[in-house]
């Protein structure tokens, strides 16, 4: 029985005079590990920002655990949803301070110091992300991967029920990619954290997510398990690329192999419109 933990109905939003989404519907159960995939410009970021609240809705609703997001204050939203953006802005703070700020939504209106409990939570997630040794370093002085981990630790410190991530591994090396995805996977399984992330690496998407949402031209074109979504036809229609899909020898999950030029007989085209099928 699917409980509709995250329910998006008829969502419309967009940039005035520019790209917009019209009447999207999406539901996720509690504890889902969902990925949004699609080409650049397919609407992934727009959908993402409409859930985080960075873009205003022009129609429809987003309901999380029976609470409509538009009716909540920013603080109430921050207690439920934590966001990790693709590019993390740095500031003149240490890693520890950055992570601790995740507790801000839980501070009383006029208190300004963190309780012992707050510090404990922050330290727990710093340990989880392996940042304990860096805790006194300024975030301006750490590597990209460490910065991403800091942002994730801070988001986890918020104690959210829904974690939103925008391409968390996009510009990181394999070490951090694997580390972050593994950690999120464990948190999802062990603590029941619902995860929704934009992900461009289809293999990571297929390997970790239990639910995939494929976007194309501002619409959700396909939804389902990785096996259902990651088919050569779907990928051709959404990405305009011909690929081979095999089964992972250990996990059995779909693994995408891109073609070498000239192998399949069908040439990859350079135009922006994918083939209609």
């Amino acid at each position: 029985m699917r409980d509709n933990f995250l329910e998006i109905k008829g969502l419309s939003c967009g940039y005035p005079g520019g790209f917009s989404l019209k009447s999207l519907n999406l539901t996720l159960p509690r504890g889902a590990f969902a990925g949004i995939i699609g080409r650049n410009g397919s609407g992934k970021s727009t959908l993402f920002k409409s859930i985080t609240g960075d873009i205003r809705l022009t129609g429809g609703s987003v309901v999380l655990d029976s609470a409509a997001l538009t009716g909540l204050t920013l603080k109430e939203k921050a207690r439920r949803i934590a966001t990790v953006t693709q590019f993390v802005e740095t500031g003149p703070v240490t890693v520890r301070e950055y992570v601790l700020m995740g507790r801000i939504p839980w501070l009383d209106s006029f208190s300004y110091s963190y309780s012992a409990a707050d510090t404990e939570i922050a330290e727990k997630y710093m340990a989880l992300t392996g940042l304990t040794e860096l805790s006194e370093s300024l975030v301006t002085g750490i590597s990209g991967g460490e910065l991403q981990l800091t942002a994730i630790a801070s988001a986890l410190t918020q104690g959210p029920s829904l974690l939103l991530l925008d391409e968390p591994t996009a510009h990181l090396d394999i070490h951090y990619q694997a580390m972050i995805m593994d950690m999120l996977y464990r948190l999802n399984r062990e603590e029941g954290l619902t995860v929704l992330m934009i992900i461009h690496d289809l293999n990571l998407a297929g390997g970790y997510c239990d639910h995939l949402i494929m976007m194309n031209n501002g619409e959700i074109s396909v939804e389902g398990t990785p096996d259902e979504v990651l088919t050569p036809e779907n990928i051709r229609s959404a990405f305009g690329a011909d690929v081979l899909i095999i089964s992972h020898p250990i996990t059995g999950k779909p693994v995408i192999i891109s073609n070498l030029p000239g192998v399949s007989g069908k040439q990859a085209t350079n135009d922006s419109k994918p083939d209609a099928e």
Binding site: T73, L74, K77, E89, T90, G91, P92, M101, I104
Partner: protein
């Protein structure tokens, strides 16, 4: 260092700043054309008929209190604005407030309105308010304040204002010219004790009210986007802080003219000493600004004694030197923002 240890360290720092402020205050009372000994001050205060009493109560105490209030306020405004705009070159005057005030005062002097019993400070304040209103109105788009836009508009207004002031100056006579220029260089010579006390009260009130914004300001160090994700309503907060700092700056300008650099330098120096956590930074900026301006005022009085330098000259020179020194030290520069 544990957070308790850190808390202790900063607590001690603030305490020593308070002590330094007290010391500076007393020095300012003692130094001048007629030198007092600090130990004599209490006896002078009781001898209400003496000339020294007159000097102390009508000249030195008002000046020192004013230096405290204005130095503290401008520095506080500077540290808040630098936090909101995340730009190390922002100071209370970057938003064009001083330009607007200067236009207001120059207009008043040139058109002769100033003579009709209305003090110049009213025109200065009015000019500042008009500028604030213009910047505010032009910076809102889709109900959001664009901080980048505000800085640009402010800088533009500053340029336009200085041109207008120069235009007006070219149309005046020598006596008016002197008055305009002297006003723009800043002076702590306000002798109406009611005004002095009011400004002190307002600046302390402002300090107290900004303490309510410590958490949002701390969060905004990571950018507006992150702050919003943490539940901080940056729109509202930026607007409120903008209005508070503008009114405060306008009041300071109205009373003492344009005293530059305090709002630019002292925040940076404070950051170097106490870090960027606003729990310590806000009170530290206020205290350091007050101490700085008191000493600038003392210098203004004694450097070419018995003549007096306008205080804007002293803050400009010392502020400028300090700024260059900070920028050339790499270790200090890393703590800038």
């Amino acid at each position: 260092m544990s957070s308790k240890g850190r808390g202790l360290k900063y607590g001690l720092m603030l305490l020593s700043s308070v002590f330094l402020l007290l010391l500076s205050f007393l020095c300012s009372l003692a130094i001048g054309e007629v030198p007092f000994r600090l130990v004599d001050v209490p006896s002078i205060l009781s001898d209400t008929a003496s000339m020294e009493y007159g000097i102390l109560t009508h000249i030195r105490i008002p000046r020192t209190v004013l230096a405290l209030a204005i130095g503290g306020s401008l520095s506080l405004c500077g540290v808040i604005l630098q936090g909101i705009y995340r730009n190390p070159l922002v100071e209370p005057y970057t938003l064009g407030i001083s330009g607007g005030a200067a236009v207001g005062v120059t207009l008043a002097i040139v058109t002769g309105l100033a003579i009709k019993g209305i003090p110049l400070s009213i025109f200065g304040f009015a000019g500042a308010l008009v500028t604030v209103f213009i910047v505010y109105a032009l910076s809102i788009r889709n109900n959001r304040m664009s901080t980048g836009k505000m800085v640009l508009i402010g800088v533009m207004i500053s340029f336009i204002s200085s041109s207008v002031v120069m235009l007006l100056m070219s149309m005046t006579n020598a006596e008016q010219l002197h008055g305009i220029i002297y006003w723009t260089m800043g002076s702590l010579n306000e002798t109406d004790n009611a005004v002095v006390l009011t400004l002190l009260g307002v600046s302390l009130l402002m300090l107290a009210s900004t303490l309510l914004f410590i958490v949002p300001l701390n969060a905004m160090r990571l950018g507006e986007s992150k702050a919003r994700h943490l539940g901080i309503n940056t729109n509202t907060i930026i607007r409120i802080l903008f209005v508070i700092t503008s009114l405060m700056t306008g009041s300071c300008i109205a009373v003492a003219g344009i005293i530059g650099f305090v709002g630019l330098i002292i925040p940076h120096i404070s950051r170097m000493l106490t870090g960027t956590d606003y729990r310590v930074l806000l009170p530290a900026a206020f205290l350091n600004g007050a101490i700085f301006l008191i000493w600038c005022d003392i210098l203004a009085r004694i450097v070419i004694s018995p003549n007096e330098l306008p205080i804007g000259v002293i803050t400009g020179i010392f502020g400028g030197i300090a700024f260059i020194f900070i920028l050339s030290s790499r270790r200090l520069k890393s703590r800038l923002l």
